[in-house]
Symmetry: C2
Subunit: 652 residues, 2 copies
Amino acid sequence: MNYVIEFQPSGKSIEVDEKTTVLRAARKAGLHINASCGGTGVCGKCRILVESGTVQGGISEKLTPEEIADGTRQACTAQITEDIVVRILDDAGLKKGQLGTAVPERHRTGKYVFNLDELRQAGLFIPPVEKFFLELPKPDATDHGSDASRIINAMREQYNERHIQLGLSVLRILRRTIRENDFRLTVTLARPVNSKSRSRLTHVQAGDWSKRNYGLAVDIGTTTVYGQLIEKNSGKILAEGGEYNRQISYGEDVISRMIYAEKGEGLSRMHELVIESINGIIERLLKKQRVNRDEISSITMAGNTAMTHLLLQLEPHNIRRAPYVPVSNFYPPIRATDIGLDLADHAIALLYPAVSSYVGGDIVAGVMGSGMYRTEKTTLFIDIGTNAEIVIGNKDWLASAACSAGPAFEGGGILHGMRAAAGAIEDFSIDPQTLEPMSITIDGKPAKGICGSGLLIMVSELFETGVLDQRGRFDRNLDHPRLREGRSGWEYVVIWAEESGIDQDIVLTEVDIDNFIRAKGAIYAGIQTLLAEVGLEAGDLEQVILAGGFGSYIDLDSAITVGLLPEMDTDKIIYVGNGSLMGCRMSELSNHIRKDVVAAIRRMTGFELSEVPSYRDQYVASLFLPHTDTTLFPETEQRRLSRIRERDKTAA
Amino acid sequence: MNYVIEFQPSGKSIEVDEKTTVLRAARKAGLHINASCGGTGVCGKCRILVESGTVQGGISEKLTPEEIADGTRQACTAQITEDIVVRILDDAGLKKGQLGTAVPERHRTGKYVFNLDELRQAGLFIPPVEKFFLELPKPDATDHGSDASRIINAMREQYNERHIQLGLSVLRILRRTIRENDFRLTVTLARPVNSKSRSRLTHVQAGDWSKRNYGLAVDIGTTTVYGQLIEKNSGKILAEGGEYNRQISYGEDVISRMIYAEKGEGLSRMHELVIESINGIIERLLKKQRVNRDEISSITMAGNTAMTHLLLQLEPHNIRRAPYVPVSNFYPPIRATDIGLDLADHAIALLYPAVSSYVGGDIVAGVMGSGMYRTEKTTLFIDIGTNAEIVIGNKDWLASAACSAGPAFEGGGILHGMRAAAGAIEDFSIDPQTLEPMSITIDGKPAKGICGSGLLIMVSELFETGVLDQRGRFDRNLDHPRLREGRSGWEYVVIWAEESGIDQDIVLTEVDIDNFIRAKGAIYAGIQTLLAEVGLEAGDLEQVILAGGFGSYIDLDSAITVGLLPEMDTDKIIYVGNGSLMGCRMSELSNHIRKDVVAAIRRMTGFELSEVPSYRDQYVASLFLPHTDTTLFPETEQRRLSRIRERDKTAA
């Protein structure tokens, strides 16, 4: 259910989901409410007066009984359960004066979900591994055809499926399976990528089991492994879930795992751990549904090139050494049990191919899953993480590159950085006059630190309000209790110790900001370099697709303000979430995708940024907010200047 | 070395191999010498006088010192080691009179050996699994191609081999193997049957091993398993050998093994036993040569449909039950270790496909190996054993059938029948006047019994000389000590007890002859029925190909005389020996054969004789010597009548 909330005195109203807090609703509406504790109810500053309707919660000992009786509530814990009108009180909003409580609205990207019906209508809904029910003609004196030929003929006649080969394991159970239910049986067919090759019958079952046709899609992330159980006949996701990649105990980054894999039994250990992770997920996905393990006929997986090598137990040694050569970018279909997956013997494992050591199957899966490979629009696809992978192109050509951004976007190298977990500050705005913050934590839990999306919006706000300059330095002239010189230089106190969940001030330091700028600079420089290599400019981009965990929470305006993404109309930006997982699911449902991916990779040019001379220059020029060349960000610059002018005018 | 022996008084001379006995030379020349003990030196009747030159051996206590000094020798043990002239003495030849010692010459078939050079010149010498040496370009800053792509590109550029896929096990050792010998390596390529499918790299080795390219050809007979070790680059057979199929301890015939396979662990036991047989042969073949087990990259096998099922552990239940349906007639390429063969993991096992339950891969292999599938000539291919398989056709069409002949040709159902082993009477002629026999045993060992080829020629001789009539009955009017009424009716004493190796008379009974006639009748009826089904007559046959162990020793005139084969010019008949093994070897050397076999089977019509109404009539008409309709055997009838007339004239 959605409800409308109207804010006074601005008169702004916005529609929100049921149980959204008033604080989040204000943030969404572009209204500032002081929330110095992260929205956990501790500071008691985010007061609102409910003028019409009622809210749920929003009451604590910070409010007097009279205030409560009057309708005063804390915006951070007050949930919207009907249409209401609220007034932002002075304490909570701007101190005094004529200014409203307006801060810039923030743009989350529109989420792209691929269209199953479109796939079906285009005749592409043909899973690579599929079940068919057959009623076979029985042998008699005029028909001595073998059991196998009976199936082959019936598949041709009933389903127009040709060139079918039966493997040894199927042949071994074929006679009794055919006869168990009077020549009625279900066969599982695995299609080839190349339509001229043979299809293989991987399984036979007596009777009709054609409705029980399941597959798995699995994204093998360096940090997290994520899986979906898919009902292949409908394309529906029956269950999904993830867990940390168990390799993580041997190092959070890919490089340290590759190093470990080079030693003794290291490779087989790495292989076992990721397989254990996948098996753990399979176990839980199956438990959630009444699906038997042996009803899974296929699993499609994607990961970066190093993760794929570790998964298959291929030696990753040369991936990390110049000139960065993987064992293979293409992987044959394999029996799932051959790599230790806890599935039936007949289950087939399909792996997304890679472009290079640094543009892996996860990115390829994203390019496929997001439909980039068949769009007319000149598109930038970007997956932001420790390594950012960038693909530019459309249905006719593709260029890819990867750049090392470092771990800042995952909270690494940031004093109070943390992963996007409960208690992480994920949203933020600042009152340009008072410099008081509006912080919002994940799940409204006491603040523990700052996650990547919080960091991005924080730097953006501080920069736009002039608290930070172009070089990422705090304005030393501002006299404010939250700005101070700490142990590692100047810092801004985001949450005071007594309002935090960790008994110490949560701060953002200039060192943090330097790390952040290097990360965003590497990515921006990568985009610019790749654009230049293919003879384009940012203005030529007709679409941007964000993928990956970070992309889902990214604030687009902030991303442009700090110079992570090129300045552009934010409507052109879409988010696909876990593009790798989406690509795997699409592959499970459409063998055409598997065919197209080979063609897509063939027309994808891989660039090694380290070998493109201009990359270094682009990088250095990007180590500013938003960039050394502000003409690349004209609107950003104008907005910033106008917000600072506003601030100075009010102060004056 | 060959030598010329001239026989007196006939003046006939013949060229023979060194160490041939004078007895065998006489037989070959169509001259009768009494040899009532089978040619073992016991009876002492086969006396000859060496008139020019000397022989080796031929001396025993049966000869007086004077006789020895004069040059008298026993023909059965006298070996020819130089050009000689010998006189057949009265005792040994005809008793008296003007007649020479002539009996009909016997025709062994010409042996067909397939022509490797022809294969090479036709560009067909392309093994299905082959090795290639590659020197790969090394990766550098401008070439980040994966290890796998390096191989794929090099195979295309250096050998024009395309569409190559690398399996997981190869990918797992690829990185280190490529670098072990500085990017110089040998790859093993397994080609598909269908040229549009992918080839697979099955193995990689550091350095150049392309000269060490070996394969195995194995015929899986019900009785004997026979194998060849093949040097694939040259096509040469390096070693060959066989052993009894170890399943034989569970029954000599296929049916009893199939019955056993239906019980409990019976199938897996049958599977294990034949695999043990093959492994035993592999062991010995490798020992004979300096070839390592892991240098065998492929093994091609053929057997009848039941044997193939047992080999692959496919349930044979419906092969022996109407309507006789096998699990499959085609078998996918499999990993040799998957069926328990003691070869390297990378070795591929290829199985010859079958036509039906009763026309198996061994016959198909024979049709391929003998070149029948590509001849212009209307050809009859026949493999004579307990089951006789018959194929008629040419390069444009093929028709096949199988008929159950019973075990007579293998010595079964014959009172003194035995397999073709040392001491078995394998050759025979009879003096039409004296009815005294000239028996020759295998290896000149004391006579133990009669093998199939001996039985055939014995029946033929007895019939042609009028001792047997058309119905297979002995002439009751002949008064001769070797013809008598025994326990199971009338019989002819082939070897007297004192001259035999078993202390009892070796006899041929009318019951034996009945069994023989039923066996030959079933085959002849099969040929006639199949000919009629395709609208041909025996006279239309331009070529006959005999295959199988029996075929190698068959006397063509005898086969026609008794009505086993249709009357025809014996020059049209060739023998291919173990056609199944030959087909396997050809498949090991030429992937084109593997492709052609699919097409050949597609154009091969299988007939079930039991369902062709005329077969029964044909069979009944064939239960005579040679046939109820003697106009089908005009020359045979004429020869018989003339021999009988000769006999009667002499007797008169």
